[in-house]
């Protein structure tokens, strides 16, 4: 008996240790970013243009750029991703082709982001002649986000019991009516989670926007989706490696803004999710 008890204690201790190994570094990183960056945050920093070779002023163009890029990514990736997931989950039969598609999606999720950047440069910037633009950057980020959205949305759709589809059909519903009225509303919390996770990854990426949209410095804000823009992740890279004599506080300030942006998107997602989950009644 006693031996078991000790083994159990050791086991628990190991598990707690494993959890701490994950959580503590994250907390330390967040703590450092907040404590070193908070001094830079003020109204000017958030709303003004950069000045003095970016060593003073604000980072508003980068914040706006990241928001625009995320919006563009959402517009491109959500309809295609959710549509693809509906097709795979509800319409496609289990054939060699669909299995190949699923395999491709899994593999796409594992491709390094810089490869997406080069792909975007080749396809959108050069071949389709969009130039380095928000459009090209958004589409590149969208392609990178698609595997995440498709696989999580498909999983959410499959989690809806088959019986609901059968019942809907038995009441004279077409396949689409069953999806539209029963399956999609039930799968929505899961789909939203997947979409937000994908968008968050897109918002924080540097490599895919490096060749397709991001500007080192722009004197004015973008006027259309065909303009270049600054963006937070790339700006962070620039101010921490490319600008000599950059005040440390401003570097951490940029990191803090990016972190806060991603975190607040995450919180919004949780709120939407719990709202829909409360409405779910089975």
């Amino acid at each position: 008996m006693k031996r078991h008890y000790i083994t159990q204690k050791i086991g628990f201790a190991a598990l707690i240790l494993a959890a701490l190994v994950v959580i503590v570094p994250i907390l330390i990183v967040i703590g450092i970013i907040i404590s070193r960056g908070i001094g830079a945050i003020n109204w000017t920093y958030l709303t003004a243009m950069p000045q003095d070779g970016m060593k003073a002023g604000g980072i508003f163009p980068a914040i706006l750029g990241t928001l625009l890029l995320t919006l563009g990514t959402a517009l491109a990736a959500i309809p295609v991703g959710v549509g693809g997931a509906i097709y795979l989950s509800e319409y496609a039969r289990d054939t060699v082709l669909t299995r190949a598609i699923r395999l491709a999606i899994i593999n796409l999720a594992g491709i390094p982001s810089v490869v997406y950047g080069l792909f975007g440069l080749g396809l959108f910037v050069l071949f389709l002649n969009f130039g380095t633009s928000i459009l090209a950057g958004s589409l590149t980020l969208a392609i990178m986000t698609l595997p995440i959205i498709i696989s999580s949305a498909e999983e959410a759709l499959r989690a809806v019991p088959t019986e609901f589809r059968t019942v809907s059909a038995s009441l004279g519903g077409s396949r689409w009516q069953g999806i539209r009225h029963i399956v999609l509303p039930q799968a929505l919390p899961g789909i939203i989670t997947g979409v937000i996770l994908g968008l968050l990854r897109a918002a924080g990426e540097t490599a895919p926007i490096l060749f397709t949209v991001a500007a080192f410095f722009l004197p004015s804000l973008p006027h259309s989706f065909f303009d270049q823009t600054m963006a937070l992740p790339y700006h962070l890279y620039v101010v921490s490696t490319q600008v000599p004599g950059m005040p440390l506080e401003m570097q951490y300030g940029t990191a803090l803004v990016l972190l806060a942006l991603v975190l607040s998107l995450n919180i919004v997602a949780s709120i939407i999710r719990s709202y829909y989950r409360r409405r779910r009644e089975w």
């Binding site: 039969r93 019986e163 609901f164 589809r165 059968t166 019942v167 809907s168 059909a169 038995s170 009441l171 004279g172 519903g173 077409s174 009516q177 009225h181 029963i182 509303p185 039930q186 779910r280 009644e281 089975w282």
Partner: protein, 252 residues
Amino acid sequence: MPQTKIRIEHVNYYYGQTQVLKDVTLDVAEKAITVFFGPSGGGKTTLLRLINRLNDLVDGTTLEGNIYLDGRDIYNPEVNVPELRRQVGMVFALPLPLPGTIRENVLYGPMLANAENGTQEDEILFRSLNQAALWDEVKDRLDDAASELSGGQQQRLCIARSLALEPDVLLLDEPTSGLDPISTAKVEESLFKLKQDYTIIVVPHSIQQAGRIADEAAFFLMGEMVEHQSGEKIFTNPQHKQTEDYITGRFG
């Protein structure tokens, strides 16, 4: 002799290589309760699901033979399948309320058919819930979640949901298998009322239930339809040895 509502002619049915229905021929009488009974694996549920083409949703199946509803071949490519399913309602073994309120459940079918409008809605709600013997229990809580009802109430809600479409035929697959005796009695009671207007086919969950409700009865064994008689005859004086052995409890 009652009118024939559904004619099943030489139906063979296969899941992949496995044959689950073997040359089944059967006439189903109009405005009466016909039961399909027999040990499990006999093909009763499969035949039921063929009558409103729900088995279309299953891949890898083969159907031979014909099924006629009012003399019309329901597997004719020109048949509008959603329309057929509105005409032939289905109630499943487990109560499966859709997510949403009682009202939404009843009105789901009519909503898809675009048949309802504001004034008809209340009428449909009252008529179908009343026919399913549920109206008195839920009339004050139509906007409560359907999942809050008891199992027996949920199953009557599922019957009401089918009735909301004013079908001709009602198929019930072991509708009382998960219910207590009181709820079972209520469901059976509503079936007795309904048979005046509807053609009803029930796969009963026990031989006793088959005896209680059957006007007509067909005995299924291993995919074959062994015997089809009036309920009175088949349970008192079965013609086939296998039927007798099953009814008297020698196997099953």
